[in-house]
């Protein structure tokens, strides 16, 4: 077996840091053991695709471009008019989908290694994100269950709100260490601990 090493292995080991008033108002960490697949649709084939998805995952494609569709261990994101992300904790899904989707029905691309999934939690999470992204995080604009694809220090990310003070970021793997350092620097005055999973 080939061992796996994430992009943040070294960074996570460095641990937390107390804020300017001694507090730790943030918890930051990396999520493991999940799978990401990107689906691309072709005109006039969405019916076949939805049928295959219902059969495999028990859920059809989401319509909303801002709300995450949750179904069991699966989360579906409509990331473009004809492109979707499936994030799942079920390791059988990639193979099952590959089998269920003929090449002329949809494209299927594995991206689990292309993204690092970072969790941000705590009372300072909104303040921290205010330094990182230009998205309006006020609850009326970005409710729990929303996601947004946006820029974070020159790099595209997907940001999801899991709770009032709980967020996840999907960042490009090759930029992940840099983004993590950027994030920790912004977190300095608040104080943070590193979540272990």
């Amino acid at each position: 077996m080939f061992e796996q090493a994430s992009a943040l292995e070294k960074a996570l080991a460095a641990g937390g840091h107390a804020g300017s008033n001694g507090a730790t108002a943030l918890r930051l960490g990396m999520r493991r053991n999940w799978h990401l697949l990107q689906l691309g649709t072709y005109a006039d084939r969405t019916e076949a695709l939805n049928a295959a998805l219902l059969a495999t995952l028990g859920v059809a494609l989401p319509v909303s471009s801002s709300a995450v569709l949750r179904h069991g261990r699966h989360q579906l994101y409509r990331i473009a008019a004809d492109q979707y992300w499936i994030v799942t904790g079920d390791s059988t899904v990639p193979a099952a989908l590959a089998k269920a989707l003929p090449a002329d029905v949809a494209s299927l691309t594995a991206l689990s290694h292309a993204r690092v999934r970072i969790a941000l939690q705590g009372s300072a999470a909104v303040a921290l994100l205010g330094k990182l992204v230009a998205v309006d995080l006020r609850p009326q604009s970005f409710a729990v269950g929303s996601f947004a694809q946006t820029g974070l220090h020159h790099v595209g990310v997907l940001l999801e709100r899991l709770g009032p003070d709980s967020f996840e970021l999907y960042v490009l793997r090759t930029f992940a260490a840099s983004t993590w350092e950027w994030l920790l620097d912004a977190a300095l005055p608040f104080g943070y601990e590193v979540l272990s999973e």
Binding site: F2, Q4, A43, L111, A134, V135, R173, A177, W182, P189
Partner: protein, 987 residues
């Protein structure tokens, strides 16, 4: 420590219990919490605080706020030295160190004051008329003197140790200015639940109300307004926050200052924060700025704006003088006179008009103020401090001298409408106030109070409540119960008479722009010479170009220019952001040092660092340049690494190559259109090298695309062009070829890439990954296999950049280190070593593969010797424009190889090529793009572009490098230096 000689025993909004010590010009002084540096200095009797820019005239405080042109100081020391800070907006803090500027040896005795004596020579634009002789270039002799004389404070070269941040914010309504209008407008806007952000540059809210006596009804009303605003749950009041500029999309840049308190960078505390706030609507409640009067020597220390004297008196309990003259053309300064008199200071009032508001007249009479009508100051008396004023009384009929140590003046008010113009709106001249005010506002923008020319509190209040309601409605959150609009306090009269023509007298200087030493005479000179448009005036005289950006000078200058031109056509200059100067560091925030731009790292990055890899920047990437095992410099190491690849086997990290997943029923057709060569028939399991052109036929990129299965392709691009190619493919599919059923996804981050190259590459692979059939029959040159190996997806491509037997291996990123280490460990008996970018780039030169500097957007397919690749049978992007005659000219510079003919010499990139025997001048016949020492040929070889290209193979050329006084002989050869038949590739 000297006592605070000018602090009044009672009154003010300072906290008398809290003494704050600071240092000024090496003296230890004390002020109170709530002071600014300016009020603390005035309280200590300090009135001489600077020397002027050009004439080094003594200067004191003109203002009490952001418009101050004179009192610029250098704060702090060492790496925290900050020049040009206005003392009038600097909140006093313990340990503050302040020094005067532009004076030597001291502000009290400045030797350069002698320059004042040459004033007639130093008029507007004098430097355009002289310093030209005796010969061409003489300016270079004079310039250092001018440069040293110019400038204000002194900065230093040390890195700034403080921390800055930037952040984003959002609001429904932004209210700028927390004076009476802003406070009322914000409360009204927030009443229906709108999220209102109210910003105030001062550290206390209240604006003009802070100039009223601390025991007055106005103060009670101020506290009520503040309380009402703070009672709104959806209203955020941000103090010490200045709106710098208004930009497209209702984005307002704000500057938050934190340096009044601890801002310890090591604890993550920022000194300043720039906020980019996006809002639905904006209310400008920015107030107005009082303007000076023009008269001789109106810059003497002790000559002050009337409102400033009132603010020092009532807000800080500081008497700026002991005997005052107030000169005005409007009612507002009467309040200053009344308050000064109430504090026991004898006051003489000179009013240019014939009457004033009745209540004010009555009050003044009661207070025993000596009033002169139709009276205007002619000249301030004194040197380093004002001692009196010579005034013309009864409309110039009589001149009289009045002694004083404080001369307050008011030339009317200019709405602080700067921000309203940042989105391109103009200001118009208003006759009623003889100043400029907004002609109109952008949709969703509103204004209230003095900024709209409503100087009376009663009018401002009504306007504020209306604006608050309108702004909330615009934001989609209508106001609920509006606050009352009746004024619970006496109104402030604001009757006004235009300043009119001042006496034009030679000899004494009437300053229009205090900071830049622009006088009335300079305006006259500029007009004489034809620099009469307001922009010419500004540029010729430097008027308004100081750190105050003309906040106290533009209006007077425009008034005077109109008088000179006998015109009423009033144009104003353009106000540029920022409204106040902002630290460059605050704009940058944390994007400093290594965070300047994000770093892109290969999945093998940490391994390289830990194992002697030396890194180099390649666009956003940090790549392994060379490894210490091979040498201590790139120049040394790459040869060793090349030898390993040529004789045994090496492995290089190629993860930075762009990788694109292309799928869909029309994928083959798509590839066939974008590449110049044919891809329609590429069978599953096969890979092909391809070149893409831009529409204009310049080369966009090259790379390999492999067919994994029907409808599924794996494209690689160069590192540099990966993003460009991805966007281009998406552009074509989404705009032009929407009928093609194709999906493209960047998988650059998904796969780690390794290039395993060398005669022992196959053995190495078999040792590392036993069980895979790597034979030439099973994995022939230009083929691909998609495998699952020990549960790990693996893409094995047989292609070669180095010219050796080589494989590219792609596995999911997290597996990268394990595979890399296994290759190195298991193939160790073969002598496998990692090799870096320098060796990678050198190996390909021996094979004549173009990269980097050859692919520089100027070169065509034919220039790179790749013309034959282009299909004649199918269309491809760039085909039409490729046929343009200049692109097909036979004498274009095209790719050649070069071999160095001089054993003791080397070839260099950037050398210019000349034919043997021709003079080495001009542009030559080509140049060298890439150079390497060939370990195979034991000499320097290079790629270059040469006029006529391969037609000249065999000829000798000179490679001129005059920057090092070198010219080296080389022979033009085929760029394919080794293994011309490609035998090594196919073993």
């Amino acid at each position: 420590m000297s006592g605070a000689s000018h602090r009044l025993p009672t009154g003010g909004r300072v906290q008398r219990g809290e003494t704050i010590e600071f240092e000024f010009e090496g003296r230890r002084l004390a002020g109170l919490r709530g002071d600014t540096l300016a009020s603390a200095l005035l309280a200590n009797g300090v009135t001489l605080v600077g020397r002027s820019f050009k004439y080094h005239r003594p200067r004191g405080f003109l203002a009490a706020g952001v418009e101050e042109p004179n009192a610029l100081m250098t704060l702090g020391n060492g790496a925290r030295t900050t020049p040009n800070v206005q003392a009038t907006v600097t909140e006093l803090r313990s340990g503050l160190i302040a020094r005067c500027q532009n004076a030597w040896p001291s502000v009290n005795f400045d030797l350069k004051a002698v320059l004042g004596g040459f004033a007639p020579l130093l008029g507007a634009g004098f430097y355009y008329k002289t310093f030209m002789g005796p010969r061409r270039g003489s300016w270079m002799f004079y310039e250092p003197f001018i440069r040293r004389a110019a400038g204000l404070g002194r900065a230093q070269h040390k890195s700034d140790p403080d921390r800055y941040e930037t952040r984003h914010a959002h609001a429904d309504v932004l209210v700028i200015g927390a004076g009476p209008a802003g406070l009322a407008a914000a409360a009204a806007a927030a009443s229906g639940g709108a999220h209102v952000v109210l910003v105030e540059q001062d550290f206390v809210p209240g604006g003009s109300l802070l100039g009223t006596p601390a025991t007055s009804a106005h103060e009670k009303w101020r506290l009520k307004l503040v309380a009402a605003a703070q009672a709104q749950p959806t209203l955020e009041l941000l103090l010490r926050t200045t709106a710098l500029g208004v930009y497209d999309g209702n984005m307002v840049a704000l500057l938050e200052r934190h340096d009044h308190a601890s801002c310890d960078a090591s604890r993550g505390e920022a000194r300043e924060v720039v906020v980019t706030l996006r809002t639905r609507s904006i209310i400008y409640a920015t107030g107005a700025l009082e303007q000076p009067l023009l008269f001789g020597d109106n810059d003497r220390p002790g000559v002050m704006l009337a409102s400033a004297a009132r603010t020092y008196l009532n807000r800080y309990a500081v008497a700026a003088g002991r005997r005052a003259v107030v000169a005005t053309n409007n009612d507002s300064a009467w309040h200053t006179a009344l308050d000064l008199a109430a504090a026991g200071i004898p006051v003489t009032l000179l009013d240019q008009r014939t009457t004033a508001d009745a209540a004010l007249r009555e009050g003044a009479a009661k207070a025993g103020i000596n009033i002169h009508w139709q009276a205007r100051p002619l000249r301030a008396l004194g040197g380093k401090a004002v001692t009196g004023v010579l005034a013309a009384l009864e409309s110039g009929g009589r001149e009289q001298r009045f002694d004083c140590d404080l001369l307050c003046m008011s030339g009317g008010w200019m709405p602080a409408a700067h921000l309203t113009t940042h989105t391109g709106r103009k200001l118009i001249h208003s006759v009623g106030i003889d100043a400029f005010m907004p002609a109109g506002l952008d949709a969703g923008h509103f204004m209230a109070g003095a900024v709209s020319g409503h100087f009376a509190l009663s009018a401002a209040l009504i306007e504020a409540v209306t604006a608050g309601a309108a702004a909330a409605a615009w934001a989609g959150r209508p106001a609920a119960s509006l606050p009352p609009t009746h004024l619970p306090v006496p109104d402030q009269a604001c009757g006004f008479e235009p300043a009119g023509a001042p006496p034009l007298r030679a000899g004494s200087k009437a300053f229009v722009d205090f900071q830049n030493d622009v006088t009335l005479n300079d305006l006259i000179a500029a007009h004489d010479e034809g620099y009469e448009s307001v922009e010419h005036l500004k540029r010729y005289t430097t008027l308004g170009m100081g750190t105050d950006q003309g906040k106290t000078s533009n209006i007077n200058a425009i008034r005077q220019m109109n008088l000179l031109r006998s015109t009423s056509a009033a144009e104003t200059t353009t106000f540029r952001p920022p409204y106040v100067p902002v630290s460059v560091g605050a704009l940058v925030g944390r994007a400093i040092g290594r965070h300047f731009r994000p770093i892109r790292r290969s999945p093998l990055h940490d391994w390289h660092v830990a194992n002697g890899g030396v890194l180099i920047e390649a666009g956003p990437w940090l790549r392994a340049w060379y490894y210490r095992w091979a040498g201590n410099s790139a120049a040394e190491a790459y040869r060793q690494e090349m030898r390993v690849v040529r004789t045994a086997v090496g492995v290089a990290d190629v993860s930075s190559l762009g990788k694109i997943d292309i799928q869909g029923p029309d994928a083959a057709e798509f590839l066939n259109r974008i590449y110049v060569n044919g891809f329609a028939a590429l069978a599953p399991g096969k890979a092909r090298y391809g070149v893409m052109l831009n529409d204009d036929a310049s080369v966009l990129d090259d790379g390999t695309t492999a067919c994994l299965a029907p409808h599924r392709y794996f494209m690689t691009t160069t590192t540099a062009q990966a993003g460009e190619v991805m966007s281009w493919l998406e552009f074509l599919l989404q705009t032009a070829w929407t009928d093609l059923a194709v999906q493209v996804v960047s998988v650059t981050d998904q796969w780690v890439g390794m290039s395993l190259a060398g005669p022992k590459a196959r053995v190495a692979l078999e040792l590392a990954l036993p069980g895979i059939d790597c034979s030439d029959a099973s994995v022939p040159y230009m083929s691909v296999r998609e495998l699952e190996y020990e549960g790990m997806p693996l893409r094995l491509l047989r292609l070669s950049f180095s010219g050796e037997l080589a494989y590219e291996l792609y596995v999911p990123a997290d597996h990268g280190v394990a595979l890399w280490e296994r290759l190195l460990a298991r193939a160790a008996p073969l002598g496998i070593k990692p090799y870096g970018l320098e060796a990678l780039a050198s190996l390909r030169i021996e094979k004549g593969h173009v990269a980097g500097l050859e692919l520089d957007h100027r070169n065509t397919l034919d220039d790179l010797g790749l013309g034959k690749m282009a299909s004649r049978d199918k269309p491809y992007i760039g085909r039409e424009l490729r046929g343009r005659p200049e692109l097909q000219a036979p004498e274009r510079w095209s790719l050649v190889g070069l071999e160095c003919l001089e054993a003791a010499q080397r070839l260099r990139g950037g050398a210019i090529l000349f034919a043997d025997g021709e003079p080495q001048v001009g542009h030559g016949r080509g140049y060298i793009t890439s150079v390497t020492w060939s370990t195979e040929l034991d000499k320097y070889i290079a790629l270059g572009l040469y006029q006529g290209g391969l037609k000249h193979v065999g000829e000798t050329v000179n490679c001129a490098y005059p920057l090092k006084n070198e010219s080296v002989r080389a022979r033009l050869v085929s760029p394919l230096f080794i293994d011309k038949e490609g035998a090594r590739l196919r073993v």
